[in-house]
Symmetry: C2
Subunit: 189 residues, 2 copies
């Protein structure tokens, strides 16, 4: 039976969310895997946006429990780091011992992006570790984001693909997604 | 037997990380719970920063598997959203069905912080939903961060505490942590 993959990422917020989600769904299906995508299930009627939020959370967790693996889009979202919901979902799948894959459409790694965030104003402390002007440590391990995310994927034998999308297409470009999808197919069979 | 709680948060990056981690550890112990804190286990010798990152990831996952519950510090870190490693860890514990608690030291919720991020330049779309100048949806549900995080905690019966730390003390103030710790004690017994 073909394996199913939960497609995590900030695409749900895009103005053309349905189009981009459908594109990822079609690519996944064409690759021989079963796509599981946020928005696949209808939300029950709720009385407030608070209840709606809780309902969506519960449904997405149910979808994740049903999926065999995850492909997480860790492209920076509104800042220098990945979408926090996607990070939660990657951890959620890793805890279940399921194969995990990740990609980013931004070439600069976490350390480089953080140094940019401080306009290059960083220094090496007595131990040689980089810190920002606020003296807070800059994790600089060559990872695409915090080590729990990149490490969680690699330690499970999954792949992390680093893309380099054209400016303005960081949240819609499919090049890196296609590459990580091919690697997921190879591993999941 | 007293329950153990994994203390997730960006404190590990602070210049006085050891001091702040120890403070949270002492407060947790004084409250009658067993603190489980990143950095509790020694890292094995590694040959590169890459290997070190993977080793820390594996150790923190082991610590999370050992803990009965989590208290996640979701205070915004280097931007408008929570530390991505902490988000991964909250998802990791939620997937195991363990009780989850969260707090933030910043009063403004996710929607308000995102509107501030765009300097107040947002608009309501045809469906009445707020969007930034980039037309990307602003999740505005009254939650402290993405709905998967806030929803994951609330849907498990956990508590989310919103603090209001003085400027400059957002990453060190213990007021909200003490409040959420008291609620965790109540629930975990």
């Amino acid at each position: 039976m073909p394996k199913s993959v939960y497609l995590a990422g900030p695409e749900v917020f895009l103005p053309n969310a349905r189009e981009i989600l459908d594109l990822k769904i079609e690519l996944t299906r064409a690759a021989g895997l079963v796509p599981v995508s946020p928005g696949d299930l209808e939300f029950p009627p709720t009385n407030s946006k608070w209840e709606l939020g809780l309902a969506i959370s519960a449904i997405d967790e149910k979808l994740m429990h049903s999926a065999d693996a995850i492909i997480a889009n860790l492209t920076p979202f509104r800042g220098i780091a990945a979408d926090t919901g996607t990070c939660f979902e990657l951890g959620f799948m890793c805890a279940q011992g399921k194969p995990a894959f990740a990609y980013t459409n931004v070439k600069a790694d976490h350390g480089a992006r953080t140094r940019d965030h401080f306009n290059g104003e960083w220094y090496a402390d007595a131990a040689g570790k980089p810190r920002g002007p606020d003296h807070i440590l800059i994790e600089d391990l060559g990872f695409i984001d915090n080590l729990m995310l990149h490490g969680g994927v690699v330690n499970r034998g999954g792949a992390v693909v680093v893309g380099d999308a054209p400016a303005g297409q960081e949240l819609t470009d499919m090049t890196a997604f296609k590459r990580v999808l091919a690697l997921a197919v190879e591993m999941l069979g």
